[in-house]
Amino acid sequence: MQVTFKISRFDPQQEEAKQHYKSYTVQTSPGMTVLDALNEIKWHQDGTLSYRKSCRSGICGSCAMKINGINGLACETQIEPMKKKTIVLDPLPSFEVIKDLAVNMDPFFEHLAAVKPYLINEEPPPDRERLQSPEEFKRISDPIACILCMSCTSSCPSFWTDPEYIGPAALYKAYRYEFDTRDKGSEERLEALDNRHGLWRCHTIFNCMDACPKNLKITHGISLLKRKVIAEKY
């Protein structure tokens, strides 16, 4: 099957650098993914194309981009089942484009750091493991699979209009620690969560869950966090 890839290009080193689309034609085969097609283009057609890639098995989160209008991982998206003659590739929305499909990830990870995404527990640990029941583990077994690919935050209309909004990924990370029975850091995290650029900016639009390549229950986690904060306050 022949598929045309319309790829967003941007090179800041060009004079009057402007975002534009460039089309490439790729002969696809069953099982071929969007990342395979990008590699095909980069390796055999146009070496100047820039994008991030690494594990190509959906676990590192490097190759997130907007594929036909919706965020996802290039390495996980099979081409032929899409049944499209043309596939449009854009960088993740709402992040500054560095070159072509690669965006500046700094704001995303700054927001992540803001929720203090680590275990806070000043009590000296026991000699062995801290105990946790399988049910307690199950409460966090979903968010721990987050690969920080940025698809969710970049797909969120609240984030589009408010770059200070810490976004679904950071909130879900907060959920992962807030609902970890070993954690005692609720109070420290509250500052980042309980404000108009935190939890309350989530309007349950669900673009995050639709974009998430790991099918995580992000919005549900955020809802539980909201309830937790409300229950503590009122």
């Binding site: 907007k66 036909n68 209008g69 919706i70 929305p93 797909s155 209309p157 589009w160 309007h203 349950t204 639009i205 669900f206 673009n207 869950m209 639709d210 229950k217 919005t219 549900h220 955020i222 809802s223 909201k226 309830r227």
Partner: protein, 147 residues
């Protein structure tokens, strides 16, 4: 910037749009009922609003209210239960419920409108005079500036 909307985003866009429409309606509604102190104008306005053309608009309003209310319910289920896990399904179920409510409600509204259209003699215009008399008993001490 184009982003392909799925159910959740669609629901949200409609929710905001209907919210804005309802704000506009609320403003109109309060203005209208503020005429309550003037029975003449009240009935005149009501008569106008009771016209079948306006009733059609009212059916539109009814749809907007149903949407905003039912999606509000959906959001409550998301926020306070585990609705986030089946929000899309819930949207379509509520859409079906909304449709039933709409038809059930729109029908009487519309038949009323038709009723007035065909029986203009029974419309509100007839009771203006009657109401004007009633005004005096109700509005003792109220300064009527208009008319």
């Amino acid at each position: 910037m184009f982003y392909r909307p799925k159910t959740g985003m669609l629901a949200w866009i409609l929710f905001r749009t209907t919210g804005i429409l309802l704000i506009i309606y609320l403003a109109m509604h309060i203005t209208v009922i503020s005429n309550l102190h003037n029975p003449g104008k009240f009935n005149e306005t009501m008569a106008f609003l009771g016209s079948w053309q306006f009733r059609l608009l009212e059916i539109g309003l009814y749809a907007v209210v149903i949407y905003h209310a039912l999606n509000g319910v959906r959001i409550l289920i998301i926020d306070f239960w585990k609705g986030a896990l089946f929000q899309a399904k819930m949207f379509w179920i509520l859409a079906a419920i909304g449709l039933v409510l709409f038809v059930a409600g729109a029908y009487p509204i519309f038949t009323h409108a038709m009723y007035w259209k065909h029986n203009p003699d029974k419309s509100n215009y007839h009771i203006i005079e009657e109401a004007s008399i009633a005004q005096e008993t109700f509005l003792a001490g109220w300064e009527v500036k208009d008319e």
